[in-house]
């Protein structure tokens, strides 16, 4: 079988071509794993082959993957998961009793007592019950029903599912979905794939990336002319921006959603990642219910959580869930039908989620070490958030808003006009040009701000704050040095 195809020689007579393929798929891009990452992987290969470079490793600060950067998993979680995978270990006295108890409970809920059996499409029932209880506890007692909980393959899967459900209509009636700029590019990719209309609302960089309703109104009114706006997405704590919305802001958003009959999608996967003093995570659901029945019985909402972030960092398990609130029962039946196409979410991810919502309690043997590990992870992240903001703000030409939460920094970079020209001459977006040069010269992989969206004429990059503290310091210094060099080179 010839490899002409792989070598890039165009083949005639293909059934599936770029011309006749689904045009929506052509518009799907996901900058977090886009061209710059592909180049980074290539460079790593070159390093392995012994090619000499000004650095010995590529630091992948492009993706929110804590464990890839050395963060340790929570011991208790891994113990329970090992017990679930190989139940013979339940005889092993190396494992604490509270871990064994949870493993037994999970296995009892699995078909054939095996995590290898399919589960119900909506997720294992007792786990959904545990999730509902966790939400009730988190939200000060506001009731949550397991029937409104849908476990998923990471939060991304649930987000795409809801969008798939909601996007309809033709032409001027096509569903419009409001998303922040900057945004996490899963949203833009999903909207492109579904041929939904993306409605951009700009976060206010000069005010710590805050959201203001006037801007929401502006974006909505403009959009009404060419589509039917029906959904409002908000990421809190924010990705890439790291802002933690104030309670007032959340109330304003809910009020706006009610006035404009918008379905709220609240992406809250970073809910435990809050560092800045004075900042607190307020769940959309809690605020909604505290606003009284006029809102709590009418505003339709889905909120999303995941096992990939917070203090767990277990991205590889693809665990997550959504809670749907005030969904029309007929629509909910359609949603239940839709999730059945996936068969079920990965069972180990469901098991892990169960542990996240049901961690060791003060009277249990694993409690002390669990709390120690959890606290250490969150403290390290808080310190790195502070350090990042501090160091970046010492660089002329880089301004960095406080990293109030999440795992990223999205600093604004000033690029000299000559650099912008050079970029354009090479057919590159200016911040991609910048990031590519940084990658080639320093082996640091970031994602250009253009991948997330930004105000015209401004440039940014997104960097994760995840490398171990000492390495992070080095990365920050290298970026500082690079930026000064870059500015100089193009002055």
């Amino acid at each position: 079988m010839s490899q002409e195809a792989v070598n890039g020689v165009p083949c005639r007579g293909k059934v599936l071509t770029v011309e006749n393929m689904n045009p929506n798929v052509k518009r799907v891009e996901y900058a977090v794993r886009g061209p710059i990452v592909q180049r980074a992987v290539q460079i790593e290969k070159e390093l392995r082959e012994g090619v000499k470079k000004p650095f010995t490793e590529v630091i992948k600060a492009n993706i929110g993957d804590a464990q890839a950067m050395g963060q340790r998993p929570i011991t208790f979680f891994r113990q329970v998961l090992a017990l679930c995978s190989y139940p013979e270990l339940l005889e092993d006295n190396k494992f604490p009793e509270d871990a064994k108890q949870r493993a037994r409970r999970i296995l009892d809920a699995c078909g054939g007592h095996s995590i290898g059996a399919y589960s119900a499409s909506q997720g294992i029932e007792c786990i959904r019950q545990d999730v509902a209880r966790y939400i009730e506890k988190r939200d000060g007692g506001i009731s949550s029903s397991p029937d409104n909980i849908y476990l998923s393959t990471g939060a991304s899967d649930a987000i795409v599912t809801i969008l798939k459900l909601l996007v309809c209509g033709e032409g001027r009636d096509r569903t419009g979905v409001m998303i922040s700029i900057p945004q996490y590019p899963l949203y833009s990719a999903a909207l492109a794939d579904l041929a939904a209309v993306q409605i951009n609302y700009y976060l206010d960089e000069d005010n710590c990336w805050s959201l203001n309703v006037a801007e929401l109104k502006r974006a909505l009114n403009e959009a009404k002319q060419h589509c039917k706006p029906r959904v409002l997405c908000i990421i809190n704590p924010g990705n890439p921006t790291g802002q933690v919305q104030s309670r007032q802001c959340i109330e304003d958003v809910i009020r706006f959603a009610k006035e404009e009959h918008l379905f709220l999608m609240a992406d809250e996967v970073y809910q435990d990642n809050v560092y800045a003093e004075g900042c607190k995570f307020h769940s959309f659901k809690k605020v909604l219910f505290e606003m009284g029945p006029e809102y709590s019985s009418t505003v339709e909402m889905a909120s999303f959580h995941s096992t990939s972030k917070c203090y767990m960092g277990e991205c590889g398990f693809r665990g997550g869930y959504m809670e749907v609130i005030n969904m029309d029962p007929e629509v909910k039946a359609q949603l239940t039908k839709l999730v059945s196409v996936r068969l079920c979410p990965p069972v180990p991810g469901q098991a892990l989620l169960d542990l996240v919502v049901n961690p060791p309690q003060p009277d249990e043997p694993s409690y002390t070490s669990f709390m120690k590990e959890r606290t250490a992870v969150l403290a390290a992240l808080a310190e790195k958030a502070r350090l990042t903001e501090e160091i970046f703000n010492t660089v002329p030409g880089i301004t960095c808003n406080p990293v109030q939460g999440a795992m990223y920094t999205f600093p604004r970079i000033t690029l000299p006009p000559k650099a912008i020209d050079k970029a354009k001459a090479e057919g590159k977006v200016p911040d991609m040009f910048y990031c590519m040069k940084l990658l080639e010269e320093e082996g640091i992989c970031l994602v250009p701000g253009s991948g997330f969206g930004q105000k015209d004429g401004t440039f940014h990059f997104r960097m994760t704050i995840l490398p171990p503290t000492e390495k992070l310091k080095v990365v920050l210094q290298k970026i500082r040095d690079f930026h000064l060099r870059f500015t100089n080179e193009f002055s």
Partner: protein, 476 residues
Amino acid sequence: MSVLQEISSDVRNMKQMENFVLFRRTNEIKEELRRGVRKSYREVIDVSWGDPHRAGVKPLSFVRQVLAACLYPELMDGDKLMVDVKQRAQRLLGTCAGGSVGSYCATAGIPQILQSISQYIMRRDGGVPCHPENIYISPGSQWALTNILKVLVNSEASPRTGVLIPVPCHSTTIISLTTLGAVAVPYYLREERGWALEMEELQRALDSAKGVCNPVALYMINPGNPAGYVQSRKSIQEVIRFAAEKKLFLLADEVYQDCVYGKESEFVSYKRALAEIGAPLSDSVELASFHTASKGLMGECGLRTGYVELVNLDPAVMKHINNLFSTNSCPILGQIALDVMVNPPQPGDPSYPLYLKETQHIRASLAQNVRRVEEVINSFPDFSCQPLEGGAFAFPRLFLPPKAIERAKEAGLQPDTFYCLRLLEEAGVLFSPGTEYGQKEGTYHIRFCIMTPTDTMEEILRRLSAFHEQFMKEFS
């Protein structure tokens, strides 16, 4: 209240799974049994899924030991685990970012595991080259199939995109097509000839699409689901030539390739058959073939991991496919299971004796179940089963008396759903109705998983026989 009376029409058009009414009743019955309600059975035997573990088959020890070691590496400190388990776990942890199964992996999957898979495919296909860059690991083979269909199906086009699908067909695929806004173009497999695929029927199906939709792809399942056939090399090559001539993209769902037990049967992959045809077809026919960790002897459905191999695709299209797969990565644990699947313990390895014992036991049980199912089903005059050659199911045909059909219609149920509901109610056995998969008009079938422990199958057949006699008498 709701702003959502209008939702995606593709979603609204999705058929509610026929099984839904059966699942609901099963949950109710389980609850009743828990509460002590008296029935003629103590537990429900659920064989409506292709889920060996649910049916009682035990996971393979080696896989689970490797998974446990990867999850909690401290386990490797003692002597509890065999050397080859530790070696495999260490090697695989070394392929994970940060040495942890909690990290994301590259878009298409862990590169070393893609390498292992490509070598497995080459071995399987007698040396036909396989390139890792053409393989994408995904959260289940259906996920990969949906992604490929997404690329093929232009929901805005007029006429709409059509995909030829076999009847009977895996129900999830049919639903996926609907949600993507594609048109399913059925071609009927010939039951009386062992579910043979006849070229005249393929042509008829293609002709039927004229003016209705624009067929771009041909989907085939081999070994079959729900029907237990294994396609012959000759048949596969005929299909390939047909696809080439009619400019159709081939989608080969081969997830049961490790479940072949028919004495005359041999699994030949579409890719191998294509290579054997030779140029120019072997260089040009576009093919996607799907496999999984969910089926075969491992049966790890809950890990949700499968892969697609893409053959002869336009490189420009591959770039877009890459973008599509990049938005949601595959679970790491499932990839580890895949590595074991394509690279199991070998003779001489410390874990080999146990691995051999366990796999032989599963194969022997399956062979026994096949024998007994054919024996029992074919002993009834109004029940017939084509020879079971491969896959995980039996799909016998039910010859229902007119009275039963009448009663079913009165209850607002498809006749085979009605039969399954009664079987569940009275015998505590859950099968799924042929309606779920498509069947020739006026025919009725039931599907049940045959990958179970042998005593479970005996119990199923005992209950089925007793029920069937009673049912047929009632409606005679």
